[in-house]
Symmetry: C2
Subunit: 501 residues, 2 copies
């Protein structure tokens, strides 16, 4: 594959095309003609008026062998590392620089920090970082950049609802792609694109996907599937919005850790040199991938700072969109991240140590969860749990057909063929009544269209899943799975419940 | 005026109507039926895994009489006040609470802090705060909430371009309202609404305005104009998006300070009890005002945290919009702001002391600017400066008619009647060549429509303004205004420039 520049400008949304250039930026471009220009132009508060003298962050030390385990075990007396930036001085980003207005791309030092991070893990050809206000902001900006009213976007048939919903107000229609335990099925994607009926409207031109530890199913795409999907994207001129918050939480199977250890850097391994699956970004020679990164899962949700890595073309449009909507991200997070990844902070090596250790922590939690599940739930024979290779979720499949009141309804042209959904709503209620909250499949289901998907493929007949998580405490897993087992037993026994007094 | 609830739901945009309810939220509502629910539902990292032990902010002390002057004079040895929040403990917001996922409204403690602030300064009837990611985010969210493709919005004929541009990709068309030195002219607004030609499309239903220290003209609406405009908004069913970043920088004239001192709280003064002009929010009995507040000008631009105050109805829609786009604001800023305004920080009284002192600082700068202007520029008789009563900007009006090459072109049906714009572009170039950047009027001009505004009212004939600022250093004002004077002299002399070697 050679890196030929591909013109992808036809993917821009109506909105992106309507966006006017920023006239003030043009003024500043003109003003570059001389050095030392005097400015009476911009209403920017002078840094001597910022009421902040310094900020200090006391963060976890990453000097230990297993920093996350040490951090958890140590509680408030765990070893820490201190990062300080003062108004006029800092290892990299002083307050007075961080707290100015910048362009939508973010602060230069922060862009460089995340670019180095991306180079380390993905080493993509010719791509540029645009900072975002977190994952939701990053994904919805991609939607707004690419989606016009009436457009079709593709996604896994079960998709994180808050983000799927975010596309709807722009008039974007979702086309769901069938999945299995390995995530999106390339052949199903191909079938949709190959057989797209003209009368259905414009052919889908964007695929939104979470390749690692997909939310809600926990599935992770194999290297082979990733390559097939990328090739399909080239064949059918699809852009890929790669939303990858769980990238660092890819669990080590024995096989893959041996492979990673035995393969020298840069060779044709199925895994990247870091022992992590190659992202779509790393495969992207055309500039058709917009990768959305987040720190919410590896640091904390309140970070609200992430970044999009894209071709320079989409980068320019993302910056224009940011300038005329949210504006650039907050100085606090940019300063924190830049110093954390910088020479006086963790450095990139320290970050890598943290995320590897965090991965181990979540892998322990996953294994604990699955052990409890094996003990408390599996023996009932009523439900099966996926074994996620990444992320935080276990997708449990209920044997709904074993329920006494399960029935096939013959499959009307409009509706579902079974009463699956109704039974699952009852099971969900039983769990709630027993004091347990789980996430039912219908929360995540993209609607199918009987006209095009066929009534026999109604998503309503595939609602027999619940998303469970091992992100919580061990106590929650222990007691929660017990209640889950009891609830299943109760529900499948199907005895009328005694009225409570 | 009585506070009758007015149904304003017809103002919602197509986009807002298309927005789907968040299914996960519905699950959580159902889950409230019992206390102590066990959750296996959400993929939220546990706070013991946040790598942050504590954060400490060293901020300016507000114990002094004139805290901003003390802060500037003291440099790095100025008295400070320390604010610390640790993972598990803090005066108000510990790290572990601040860094969780929250709803789009923001953290409850932060909402309360800004609500108290709004009560203190505006005391509005039945309004609620929604946190934003800063002013740009706040204003564009209002545009998205209210503007459908083809809609008309009203604004001052000269308006901050980055925000005017933000409405364009949504298909919103601007209708410019004539202004004078006192800002938007209510009679001009009335004329537009009264004579709106049906064939022009849907009647404007939103007025976007910056009531204090308007950007770029520096004008501030009098209390009388505010009341008139609000009455017109009621009569013509307009919503008002009140964008007020310079609210705290309202300068004290002798008359108004005497008035404020002599009038007891709550009486029918033309100024509010705080000596500040009453905001549209404070006048809003119908819930037709969405007020956008910012901390960029009183703290620092990099804060990227602000809030919208609106009726509960628009609040609910703003939260839904935030949930399905940017998500909630960053924890860093919410924690900082909450602790700063809280009992262990500045408190609200300290904030008030800071902004009053900051106002005095900018008033000194303004007066210095005007003094230099009087000395270096005014004697030429070629330009007049406005005296802003708020904000950071001086709108200077060039006597373009005095230029030797100025001409009236007879007024074609399509174009401008003079060569004003062309001459101003030349003057701008002369300034640049002399090493000075100023902001020309055309950067801010909303286009007029000769068909409806009449060719004799073309904005192209009113381009003889430059926006100057006194936000910069004293040196920039001193040397910049000298260059401005020289450039004017050179330009009006209109001698061919010697070719540089």
């Amino acid at each position: 594959m050679t890196s030929t520049p591909v013109d992808l400008s036809h993917h821009l949304s109506v909105e992106a095309r309507l966006r006017k250039p920023n006239a003030m930026k043009q003024i500043w471009r003109l003003a570059r003609r001389k050095p030392n220009m005097i400015s009476l132009a911009n209403g920017d508060p002078h840094s001597s008026l910022y009421p902040i003298q310094s900020m200090t962050f006391s963060v976890a030390s990453v000097a230990e062998k297993d920093p996350v385990a040490t951090w958890r075990a140590g509680g408030s007396s765990a070893p820490t590392h201190s990062i300080t930036s003062s108004r006029d001085e800092a290892p990299v980003l002083p307050v007075r620089t961080a707290f100015q207005y910048t362009t939508g791309a973010g602060l230069l030092d922060t862009q460089e920090a995340v670019t180095e991070l991306t180079r380390f893990y993905h080493n993509p050809p010719d791509h540029i970082a645009t900072l975002t206000l977190g994952n939701g902001d990053g994904v919805t900006k991609c939607f707004r950049l690419l989606g016009s009213p009436g457009d079709h976007f593709l996604a896994d048939e079960f998709t994180f609802s808050a983000l799927a919903n975010a596309a709807v107000p722009h008039g974007i229609k979702w086309v769901s792609v069938r999945i299995d335990e390995g995530g999106l099925i390339p052949e199903e994607l191909e079938k949709i694109m190959e057989n797209w009926p003209e009368e259905r409207g414009p052919k889908p031109h964007v695929l939104y996907t979470v390749p690692c530890g997909q939310n809600p199913t926990g599935s992770t795409l194999t290297v082979e599937r990733r390559k097939k999907i990328y090739e399909l994207a080239r064949r059918y001129d699809l852009l890929i919005v790669e939303d990858d918050p769980y990238y660092y939480l890819q669990y080590v199977s024995k096989a893959s850790s041996e492979e990673a250890a035995s393969v020298p850097t840069g060779s044709e391994s199925s895994l990247s040199p870091r022992g992590l699956a190659p992202s779509f970004l790393s495969l992207d020679v055309d500039g058709r991938v917009l990768r959305v990164d987040s720190f919410s899962k590896v640091f904390a949700p309140g970070m609200r700072l992430g970044f999009i890595t894209s071709s320079p073309f989409f980068h320019a449009h993302l910056v224009a969109l940011t300038d005329s909507s949210t504006q650039h991200p907050h100085a606090f997070g940019q300063l924190f991240l830049t110093e954390l990844l910088g020479p006086a902070g963790w450095t990139l090596a320290g970050f890598d140590a943290w995320v590897r250790s965090l991965r181990d922590e979540y892998q322990r939690r996953r294994d604990l969860f699955l052990n409890i599940f094996e003990r408390e739930v599996a023996p009932l024979g009523l439900v099966r749990a996926s074994v996620p290779e990444a992320g935080m979720f276990v997708w449990t499949q209920i044997n709904v057909e074993r329920h006494p009141r399960f029935r096939r309804e013959g499959g009307g042209a409009e509706g579902p063929c079974t009463n699956c959904r109704q039974l699952m709503e009852e099971l969900f209620e039983v769990c709630l009544d027993n004091g347990l909250v789980v996430m039912p499949a219908w929360v995540f289901a993209l609607p199918t269209d009987p006209k095009y998907d066929g009534p026999e493929n109604s998503i309503e007949d595939r609602m027999h899943y619940f998303r469970l998580t091992f992100a919580g405490t061990e106590e929650a897993m222990e007691s929660g799975l017990k209640v889950f087992g009891q609830s299943l037993k109760e529900f499948f026994a199907d005895k009328p419940k005694a009225v409570e007094n």
